[in-house]
């Protein structure tokens, strides 16, 4: 049993930090709670930024969440600069020093940039999404660099806005994230809607006349008025450098989300035990589940249950809606539980000795049922 804690500081006001703050209260923590967020906004739904929020005509509140009820002192628009884990002090950019008994590290990740050019747009935060939405209203030609789910969602939104769009991808888009079977389904839908796809091993971004250009491995050049890159994320761990808590760009935690006693790390920057080893799982429900477990561990110590977690992933693009319970990518052909290839369906993949994965494509299947189907496949 750990000693009672009087002051908790949550650094990060994304869904991980927000959930941790709420869960601390649910667990009976009634001490002084401070939440630090580098954006000036209340916590919002990041998945919505590259989906509904980018679409013209859709209401501009798609990302808004219910107001926080944790009653914390919220310090927004300010960044944490350093951590002294021995003296238990967080230092902020504005010089404020916050002492703590318990700490939640939830500073998330930022977009990985491919160049130093200001013309390179990324989509990670609310300001990015609003700026991109504004640019799309002028229907510029667009090149999207990155063939993962985010790059494909951005490309889909740009096409829907009436832009000519080229997606530059290392290998087949989505193949690395979803596996070859599902990637083929999405690539077909994207091509049918008019997306141009350029596969390349490597690429180089340059300033061009009236915009930007991406030079592909074979020397071919893609020119566009607007470049948006979606090349993965980089955990925001620099402020932890002095505390010895970040190794290899991530914060490693145990099954209860603790990096050390009294210090939890949750969300996109935390590498936690999974069936496939210590991994980051930067997804919405991952952040929430991690935060709940870690908040309980800060309050109750070893009495709190460890994380039992199955990833849930969804994407909407090119007229397709996919929901997946279980680990991705999936290899080989699925078994169709409902529907058939080429149409709406509920699929499952089995894995030797591991958990199964269930995928609903253009098929409204709620998570509890997806989970049951994925377990049946295990």
């Amino acid at each position: 049993m750990s000693a009672p804690i009087g002051r908790v500081v949550v650094v990060g006001n994304g869904i991980a930090g927000l959930t941790a703050a709420h869960q601390l209260r649910e667990c009976g923590f009634d001490g002084e709670l401070t939440v630090v967020g580098d954006e000036p906004y209340p916590a919002y739904s990041r998945p919505a930024l590259s989906k509904a929020l980018l679409l013209d005509g859709v209401d501009r509140s798609a990302h808004e969440l219910a107001p926080a009820t944790h009653g914390a002192v919220e310090l927004l628009g300010v960044r944490a600069r350093g951590l002294d884990a021995e003296r238990r002090l967080v230092t902020l950019d504005d010089g404020v020093v916050l002492p703590y008994d318990g700490l939640v590290i939830a500073t998330g990740a930022r977009a990985r940039r491919l160049s130093g050019l200001p013309e390179e747009h990324t989509l990670r935060g609310l300001d990015d999404a609003l700026a991109l939405r504004e640019r799309l209203a002028g229907r510029p030609s667009v090149v999207v660099a990155g063939g993962g789910p985010l790059g494909m969602e951005i490309a889909s939104a740009c096409l829907a806005a009436g832009c000519a769009v080229t997606l530059v991808s290392q290998g087949v888009p989505l193949a690395g994230h979803l596996g070859p079977y599902l990637a083929e389904v999405f690539v077909k839908a994207a091509l049918d809607r008019g997306l141009t796809i350029a596969e390349t091993g490597a690429g180089r971004i340059e300033r061009g006349a009236g915009g930007v250009r991406v030079v592909l491995e074979d020397g071919a050049v893609v020119e566009a008025e607007l470049l948006v890159s979606a090349a993965g994320d980089v955990p925001n761990t620099e402020w932890l450098a002095g505390a010895g808590l970040a190794a290899g760009g991530v914060v490693r935690v145990d099954g209860r989300g603790l990096a050390r006693p009294g210090v939890a790390a949750v969300g996109d920057l935390a590498a936690f035990p999974t069936p496939y080893g210590l991994r980051r799982v930067p997804l919405w429900n991952s952040a929430i589940e991690q935060a709940k477990v870690a908040a309980a561990a800060l309050v109750r110590g070893d009495e709190a249950p460890p994380l039992r977690f199955q990833p849930y992933f969804w994407t909407e693009q090119f007229g397709l809606s996919l929901k997946a319970a279980g680990y991705l990518p999936v290899r080989g052909e699925p078994e169709y539980v409902e529907g058939e290839p080429g149409g709406p369906g509920l699929m499952r993949w089995s894995r030797e000795g591991g958990s199964g994965t269930a995928v609903a494509l253009n098929h409204r299947v709620p998570i509890p049922r997806l989970r049951r189907v994925s377990r049946a496949a295990a």
Binding site: A48, L65, A66, K323, R364, V365, P366, I367, P368
Partner: protein
Amino acid sequence: MKIVLDRPRCEGHGLCEEAAPELMHLDDEGELVLDREELGDADLAAAGAAVRVCPVAALRLA
């Protein structure tokens, strides 16, 4: 307190049902059904968790 559903926002993920299975469920068509809108004190923790897990904020407490 009661739970209010903004149905056009609901995408049928079902994370709320996982958080509060005694208060709500998704039917065979994936439409959310609130089984109990009026909440007692004992329901508030689960209801709050259901509201907060929704990625499209389709639920709120009023």
